[in-house]
């Protein structure tokens, strides 16, 4: 079996078939990108894999386990982390606390232990802090460690969201438009981090992205969606030159 397999995935919102019979496989350790015009269903596919939406048909299999009906809050425990297109950070908490929430699945203390702040809680907190500090160092977030998210600029928030996903300690990382709203320099940093994450941490990356230069720099394989259907799969080069894809973007 493959690492992540999506088979015949479909979802219908009323009369609209947002995603229609989409199947693809992601191999362990690759960077797999989904592209497509606005409204093609890219984020919807993401929302189904991270279980925010339940598909009307099809299966999602991750490491030989069918996760099509898994409750959302258990997805993180399987090692799947995600970021959001429109940034869903915890606005009125510090960067540090945001990243620490990512460690939630690693804490095993009971409510009573938490209220007493027992030795076990203390030890786990120190472990979490260390893990989070490693992420902070990787993404160079030291300057805003104790600042509230609500006072931080967009570009930094985007990086913090990546950091929070990394704090989960994922195997599979879903990035929803990591470069949207970033300037050229920040996009460049993002590309380096994505490659770093794959190379140094061995994390498989599944990504939705519009910026084709970023896509061709980091992706091993690209899938193009339009109106919920697959147009093409292949390397960035192959997909970019595929006649259907060109037609979808430029019009015929």
């Amino acid at each position: 079996m493959s690492y992540l397999a999506v088979q015949g995935l479909s979802i219908q919102f009323g009369g609209l078939k947002a995603v229609d019979d989409v199947s693809f496989e992601v191999a362990q350790g690759e960077v797999f990108t989904i592209i497509g015009p606005n409204g093609a269903g890219k984020t919807t596919v993401f929302n189904m894999i991270s279980r925010l939406y339940t598909p009307t048909a099809g299966r999602i299999v991750f490491k030989d386990e069918d996760i099509t009906r898994l409750p959302v809050q258990l997805v993180a425990a399987r090692g799947i982390a995600r970021t959001f297109q429109n940034i869903e950070l915890f606005e009125n908490a510090s960067t540090l606390d945001n990243l620490l929430v990512g460690r939630h699945r690693h804490s095993s203390t009971s409510l009573v232990e938490d209220i007493l702040f027992s030795g076990r809680v203390r030890r786990q907190e120190l472990e979490h802090r260390e893990a989070v500090e490693r992420v902070i160092e990787l993404l160079r977030l030291q300057h805003c460690r104790d600042m509230l998210i609500s006072g931080l600029p967009y570009g930094v928030r985007k990086v913090i969201e990546l950091g929070r996903a990394l704090a989960i300690g994922p195997e599979l990382l879903l990035l929803d438009e990591p470069s949207s709203g970033l300037n050229v320099e920040e996009t460049d940093d993002m590309a380096h981090w994505i490659l770093d994450i794959r190379r140094r941490l061995g994390i498989t990356v599944l990504m939705v992205e519009h910026d084709m230069s970023l896509v061709s720099r980091v992706s091993d394989r690209v899938l193009a969606l339009n109106y919920g259907k697959i147009m093409a799969v292949g390397t960035a080069q192959e997909v970019q030159t595929h006649p259907d894809v060109v037609a979808a973007y430029l019009g015929t």
Binding site: L74, V75, T109, I115
Partner: protein, 378 residues
């Protein structure tokens, strides 16, 4: 500016981070322990009310401030705690037992009230908790075999391990309870559970994707908040020595919400500030009522005008019915507009001002404020 140097992550887990904090809290502890000597009977009794209100404030701050769940039914939790105490004392059950029992019982009720919160948000949740409070009020009035209906129940001050508590003893009991609850709340909010609460408040979608189970943590927050309020209810009943259903109405719930709005919803300290404010408003208003007309009359007659007429006019205004509600309403409006973080927020700003003294800029907090204003506009 004094910045403690950090060399270890465990420094961030300490309750007191600087020597200054240790000393100021030690001073506060000494002051509170010496209160029965320093204060007269009246003031001491006011302090006990402050403590009880502060406990409810802590409960609401955990639920509304940190978990983002609205409740205008906390008077009902207080009532359940209070009636448990009254009923159990009549049956001769020891204080320690029914104190714990009241906490557990309100905790369970809070858990059940929390279940609808999984589907309801904002105003709809507020109405659900409001309805719950009405139901409890009605039950208290009708279930006469236990609650004695509208006639109410008398209580005595509790016996603690066979020791009959007087006013001073009861004050120390309240002090011990509030200290324990405060420490527990601080611990809870800095633990993974507290972070899960904050996560659910700010973005439920993201919280779920981080592995936070919304059902578990929302109901937990409700249960904890209710249990704490129930414990406050036990103390409240003993303090008042008489309870009846009409004491636990909507206006009491709203008073509790005012505690956290005025005190500051984002910090546990706010519960204490808000409680002091709420309890002190009444005596201050009473003093004003007595003294203001005379004062104005004096001033006016010094100016050579009709003092008696002015005195009468002012007396009419200060004795107008509903004046207290009007003042409370204005206070709430002003706090929400000018200091959304309440007295606790103001306290932080004053501290920063003193620390930075010659360098403080009026714009230091501008950005946050602008952000909050735009949020409200949405």
């Amino acid at each position: 500016m004094h910045q403690p140097v950090k060399t270890d992550y465990s420094q961030d887990l300490r309750l007191f981070r600087t020597a200054g904090q240790v000393w100021s809290y030690a001073a506060l502890a000494v002051f509170l322990l010496a209160a029965p000597i320093l204060f007269g009977n009246y003031l001491l009794s006011q302090v006990v009310f402050v403590i009880i209100y502060a406990i409810v404030g802590i409960a609401l701050i955990i639920l509304s401030g940190y978990t983002g769940q609205v409740s205008i039914g906390h008077a009902a939790f207080l009532a359940i705690g209070a009636y448990t105490a009254a009923y159990c004392q009549k049956q001769g059950i020891p204080f320690v037992v029914y104190f714990v029992l009241a906490g557990a019982l309100t905790g369970v009720v809070g858990y059940l009230v929390g279940l609808p919160a999984l589907r309801l948000h904002g105003v709809y949740l507020a109405i659900a908790t409001f309805a719950f409070a009405f139901i409890v009020e009605e039950i208290l009035a009708r279930w006469e075999s236990v609650t004695n209906g509208n006639e109410g129940i008398m209580l005595a001050l509790p016996d603690l391990f066979g020791l009959k508590l007087g006013d001073t003893g009861f004050y120390y009991l309240c002090l011990a309870v509030v200290t324990t609850i405060m420490l527990g709340a601080i611990n809870l909010l800095r633990s993974p559970t507290g972070r899960a609460f904050v996560a659910l408040r700010d973005s439920e979608t993201a919280a779920k994707s981080m592995g936070v189970n919304p059902a578990r943590y929302k109901t937990r927050s409700f249960a904890i908040s209710a249990a704490i309020t129930g414990l406050a209810g036990v103390l409240y009943a003993h303090k008042l020595s008489f309870i009846s259903p009409e004491m636990f109405t909507l206006s009491l719930s709203i008073e509790f919400i005012m505690i956290v709005i005025i005190g500051g919803i984002a910090s546990l300290r706010g519960a204490v500030f808000g409680a002091i404010f709420m309890i002190m408003v009444d005596p201050v208003l009473a003093t004003l009522k007595d003294d203001l007309p005379g004062l104005v009359a004096n001033v006016v007659s010094v100016l050579g005008l009709n003092g008696g007429g002015a005195q009468e006019a002012v007396a009419r205004v200060v004795n107008a019915p509903g004046l207290k509600s009007l003042i409370f309403g204005l206070i709430i409006i002003f706090f929400i507009i000018f200091e959304p973080f309440g007295l606790a927020g103001r306290w932080e700003k004053i501290k920063l001002y003193v620390r930075l003294f010659p360098l403080y800029k009026a714009t230091t907090f501008k950005r946050q404020k602008m952000y909050l204003k735009s949020e409200r506009g949405r």
